[in-house]
Structure formats: C-alpha cells, structure tokens
C-alpha cells in the first residue's frame, strides 16, 4: 500500500476519486458520441478552457500593464492615481461586451428576429451609452477627488508658509 502511495504521489482515496471522475467523464463522452456533431461539442469544450487562458487573459493583462504606465502630470504632485478610474469602467464595459456582444453586434440577428419579431438594433446604442455612463461617472468621481486633493494640498502649503 505504502509503495503504491509513493509511486502514485497521493493517498489511495485520491486515486479512487480521480478514477471515479474519469470513469464518469468517460460515460458522458460515450453518451455525447450518440448525438449529431459530437466532435464539435468536444472541440468547443476544450477550446473553452484554452480560449480563456491563452486569449482573453493575456489580452486583459497586456491592456492593464499598458494602462498602468499612464501618469498624469500634476502641479502639486499629490494627484490621486488615475489608473483605477480608467480601468474599472473599461473593465465593466469590456465585461458587458464579452457577455452581450452577440446582441451588440447583431450576430444572431436572423434567429433573434424569427424568435422575437424584433431586431437587435438597440443593443449597440445601449452598450455604448452604458460605456459612456461608466466613464463619465468614474471621471466625475476622479475630478471630485482631484479637487479635494488640491484643496488639501494648498491647505497644507498655507499652513507651512504661515
């Protein structure tokens, strides 16, 4: 038993759990093989893992690294960081696009219209307006923080010179 454990690298219960897992998954695969375009389901399933890890994530990380290089010149050197005021609305807008791009871009237009009798036209405008709203709200908040920081800054300076 101990030899098995050492060769395997974990407790026997771990092996049983994983064996059960793959046996069950095998059964599911066997069922899927009965349906039309089973191979395509398999391809999409594996692609789903890969798409996130190797496409979406690097894109996201790269955009964020570029964003963090942005530094606003500040007269007092005490301006609050801008970075979150850009990346949070950008993230929200990007998330909504990721989740609703078929509607925003009208990719399912024909099926949508035959189901609902309506077109997907309004969604692009709605998403753009929401995006504009997120950035406007975020930058307004930034402006408030900036004003507050400058007031505090000049207050300090007066205190020092006085």
């Amino acid at each position: 038993m101990e030899r098995l454990r050492r060769a395997y690298g974990a407790r026997t219960a771990h092996l049983l759990l994983l064996a059960g897992c793959f046996a069950f998954a095998g059964y599911v695969v066997d069922r899927v093989l009965q349906v039309p375009y089973a191979w395509m389901i398999g391809v999409y399933f594996v692609a789903a893992a890969v798409l996130h890890d190797f496409v979406l994530f690097p894109f996201d990380a790269l955009a964020d690294r570029l964003l963090r290089r942005i530094r606003l010149p500040s007269a007092h050197g005490a301006a609050p960081p801008l970075v979150n005021h850009i990346r949070i609305p950008a993230l929200l807008s990007g998330l909504l696009f990721l989740m609703f791009f078929p509607l925003v871009l009208g990719l399912g237009e024909r099926t949508y219209r035959s189901a609902t009798g309506l077109g997907t036209g309004p969604y692009l405008g709605r998403w753009l307006l929401l995006t504009a709203g997120f950035f406007a709200a975020s930058l307004l908040l930034y402006a408030c923080r900036l004003v507050a920081a400058r007031r505090r800054g000049s207050g300090k300076m007066e205190a020092r010179s006085g």
Partner: protein, 419 residues
Amino acid sequence: MTPRPPWPFRPRVWRSPLRGPWLTSVLGSVLLIGIPILVVTGLVSYASYNPRLGHNDTTPARGVLGFYLFSWITNPSWIYRVSQGTHVILGLVLTPVLLAKLWSVIPRLFAWPPIRSIAYALERASLVLLVGGAVFEFFTGIFNVEYFYPWKFSFYDAHFFGAWAFLVGFTVHVVLKTPRLMAALRSRSLRAELRTGVAETVPEPPEPDGLAPVAPSAPTISRRGLLGVVGGASFTVLALTLGESVDGLRGTALLAPRGRSYGGGPTDFQVNRTAAAAGIRPDVTGDSWRLVLRGPVVHQLSRPELLSLPQHTYRLPIACVEGWSTEQTWSGVRLADLARMAGARAPVSVYVQSLDENGAFGRATLSGYQVSDSRSLLALRVNGVDLSPDHGYPARVIVPAAPGVHNTKWVRQMSFEVD
C-alpha cells in the same frame, strides 16, 4: 542545477500583489454556493420537459443521466418561472465571479514542472473538465439566450452533457480543495480586508500552491477594491437583466435579450416564435381552422364552437427556458373538458400538435396530471382580447408551471391517450 523553466512558467512572471489563496477562496466560496444552484435549477428544467413522455426529450441519448426524472408538477404555477429565471439570471450574474476566479488561479496553469507525480497529472487532467466545463457551460448558456449559434450541434445536447462533464470535475475539485479553502479563509479576516485601503495592502505570503506572487509589484488596488469591482460588475449585470423575468422591472432590462416592448396593448409581452417565422398564414387560421380532438372519440371544433364551451380565466405565467417570463391573464377551455369530449375521462397523456410543422417545438406531450389541473387551458384569449397571431391565434395551450415551449401555439390537433 535545474534548467530555468520557459517564460510563462517562471513564478516571477505573476506579479499581481492581490493573488493568493485567500482571494481565490473568497471568490471560490461564492461559486461554491452559486454553482450548485445552477446545477439544481438546470436539472429541474430538464425534468420540467417531462422527457419520459413522447418526443419531449431534447437529449434522448441521456442514458442514466436522467435517473432523477419525475413527472413534472403544476403547483405552484410560478415554480418554473422562478427556477429557470434563477438559472439564467444567476448564471449571468456569476459570470464576473467566474472570470475573477479564473484570473486568480492562472499562475497554477503555468506551474513548473507541469508533471510532478501521477496523482498530480491526473488532478491537472481533471481541471480540463472543471475549467473547460465552466467556460463551456457559461458561454453556451449565454449565447443560447442571445440566439447566437456559432456551432452546428444542438444547444440542448451540448449544455446537458457539458453540465455533467463539468459537474464531475467540479465535484472532484470541491472534495480536494475544501480543506485548503477553509484554511485560506481563516488566514485573513474578511472584515479587516474590507477596511484595508490600497496603501496598506500587503501581498499574501508565497505558498506551495504558487497562487501568491513571489515577486509582487506595488498594489494599485486593494483587495476590498477588487472584490468591490467584481461585486459591482455582478450587480450591474443583475440590474441590466433582471427585468426580463420580473414584470415590474421590464424597462430596466437594457441588455437582457428579452423584456423589450412590442408597443403596448394587451398582447405586449414576449413572443418566442413569430407567426411569420413559423409559416402560419392567415388562410389556415381563419374560418376554415378546426381543432381536431382524438381519443376514443374523434371530434372537430371550430373557434366559435370552442368559444361557446365553458370559458375559464386564470392569471398564469409563461416562462421560457431562456429565462424570461411574464404573467398574463388567459381565457379559454379547460384541457380536461376537451379530454372528456374526446372520450378520454382520465387520459395518460395528450400529444399536442401545432400548425407549425417545422419548429423544434411544434409538438409536445403533456402528462395526464397536467391535463387534469383545472387551470390548464386551451387559451383563446389573453388579457381580454383574442390571441394575436404571434401569441398563437386561433388557440394555444397554457399549463401552469410548464416550460414555455410546452405551451404549444397555433394548436391544430390534440391526441389523448388512455390506458
């Protein structure tokens, strides 16, 4: 000396000072509560189709994966509305949490060396079921409710079997990781984290799992900030979609695929398949239309004849598998009365056929139990007016708690089966 691992496999690549077992565990706890709800409501939705009857089963290859099926209920009438609305809206709301969770564990994907033992290799292989399954289930679900089908397989097959593949990977993950989740949650106080700003944010200490960074960069956002962004994103998604399932919030469903207005009036509620798309022309629904009842007796009824039968009015929801739902006031003839006219006093089931011959749901089999509910109607009118062509004129089925597609529109024939 061991050779230096290739670029993404070097631990120093992962710089975020927020990643760590605690953050992963907090996000994981949310999914640990949310995903079982998605699983249960998903299985409930499958059961609600009464897949053991007639041609109702959308995944006939199910095998033992339908072991839990039971004859679908009619009480409370809102059960499918709530269950399926929860399935879809919660799935949308959890999407930001899922993405954040995947972001938090991405260094694990590039752990080096990739294989350390047989146990380790098997566990990593099971992650294909977990991660592939999660992304596959979330995005097939999202694309389906948006009518976007960049594939040829049946959504039902893919989402059903994908769910089982995901579920087994999820179960293994929960069994193996729960002890670590509990330990990580205890390592920091949530309340303290929620009071910590960016200036005081310190990285979690490096640990053997490699989630926490060994070379963190300076924090630009606190853990409180990150959890706030994820929670805020979930709340935004909720606010923009919930209106498709709640009648009073219709106008807020800005990004929900449904919940849009048809211009007011008594038939201003969601249509799932237009008369035009179903090829229903006015000449087949006009004076020549007859409802054919088949049972021990065969009977034909014109629309005026149906209107001369006892009419009953109920407020009942119509709830789609795609998550949208609405409650309307339906009037028409009881299915039980029609069964009696066909000589079937206590039918086992009824096979309902639509004039829509080509639609995936141009036919449905209802159980004897559903027929016997006094609120189950062949509706002729809605909200005091005749059904509109898009809502199934001349007659449609409405059964309490049945999934929307089983409320067959443009009914032409009902075949009652008796023992």
